[in-house]
Subunit: 243 residues, 2 copies
């Protein structure tokens, strides 16, 4: 990794046009070739950057970085105050816990956390516009899980069961906003066109839901449920919600 402190002005031309007047900044060149121009503030995002792959041409007083998409970063270097390189080596990588996938796993393992009597039919149930997180059936009707054959015929009995049973499409989010409601609405529209899964209602499950999203959801007949992640993981006793 190369770290240069320099007085410079910078220009970007590509998806938009941008200009940085002359000032002192940090120029960071990583081993993969990506370049970032940092001011001494403004969070972790650089003021300008060029991701790899790119080509850096270093002339006296000017760096020109180009990428295969025709974007270009031009750094006009007025004065170099420091220029050091460090041998860092590859990174072992990042481990994460608590992302949406884990929440979905936990809820798939026990859908009654969402609604009493709920039975999981399928995770990542595919529709022609993308997979819906969970497809379940509620407590009403016979507790027969219908396997949906995407190829071939479904027998008459299953078709009738499907037509009379109530399906629930569940979308799981950590923090749900309006876009989550939109996403679920799109899926519902599709699922309700399929005679096998019609009629189907939707539920939005999240660790928190934005108030406006609740309004939009309820206006579309979509129920919102909040769950506690620690509680789901068994790190905490279920809260005794009385109301």
């Amino acid at each position: 990794m190369r770290l240069v402190i320099a007085r410079c002005s910078v220009d970007y031309e590509g998806r938009l046009t941008a200009h940085l007047p002359l000032a002192t900044r940090l120029l960071m060149v990583k081993a993969d070739g990506c370049v970032a121009v940092h001011a001494d503030g403004g969070a972790y995002k650089p003021q300008m950057w060029m991701t790899a792959p790119n080509t850096l041409r270093e002339e006296p007083g000017r760096w020109v970085i180009r990428n295969p998409n025709g974007e270009q970063l031009t750094i006009t270097v007025d004065e170099v105050l420091s220029d050091v390189s460090h041998d860092i080596g590859v990174d072992p990588g990042l481990a994460k816990d608590g992302v949406e996938a884990h929440l979905q796993e936990l809820l798939a393992a026990d859908p009654t956390r969402i609604l009493d009597g709920l039975v999981l039919v399928r995770r990542e149930h595919p529709t022609d516009i993308g997979p819906v997180d969970l497809l379940c059936r509620d407590a009403d009707g016979r507790a027969v899980v219908i396997e949906i054959e995407r190829r071939g015929e479904v027998d008459r009995a299953s078709r009738e069961r499907a037509a009379t049973s109530r399906w629930v499409a569940i979308e799981v989010k950590r923090k749900a906003g309006i876009d989550a409601v939109e996403q679920l609405s799109r899926y519902l529209e599709r699922i309700n066109r399929d005679p096998l899964t019609r009629p189907c209602r939707g539920m939005l499950v999240a660790t928190s839901v934005a108030p406006q999203a609740v309004v939009l959801a309820e206006s579309r007949g979509i129920a919102c449920v909040t769950v506690d992640y620690d509680e789901l993981r068994g790190l905490r006793e279920p809260s005794l919600t009385l109301f």
Copy 2:
């Protein structure tokens, strides 16, 4: 700005839990207090970070950074290879051209670029779920809501020019996707509840529109119009589109 090269392991606890095993990395502390942990690759994004405001407590062999939301970054420092600080000062700031606001300005100044006879009623027309880019009336006096979408993408032609010529003229496409259609649909739903603006149709204006977005838009009676940014700015003569 303080730049530390160190062998360290890092842990984040907050919105999720994450862990970085022991390795050599760059620790960047900016004047505003934000901290970033960079590997020598993987684009400009740090592997972990803590934005300002926060408090950094530096103990021997351990940095603990906390923010007011209760999130915590713990850097266990095994060995410091370099530790330098630079006085950089405030930055004069970044100037951008070609963002959505500019496209909106140009179209507001002359809505006939979108549709013949179109008259602007109001920019950023407020609804109870957010502002609509442009509210117009068509030649027949009916209301039209316009959603302007920009999403950067450099087109193929400039890519080829960039590859073959020394001088690079960049043409920028601004592409609308399904989310733009959803956004406009939401606004339309609201506006068509208001007797003053009903009936109202929608138009999606962008320098380009994704095929799926066109399909979804047309299925909802939303017309898609593409415009040329350079043409709007007057940098190019209107193309004589014959069809």
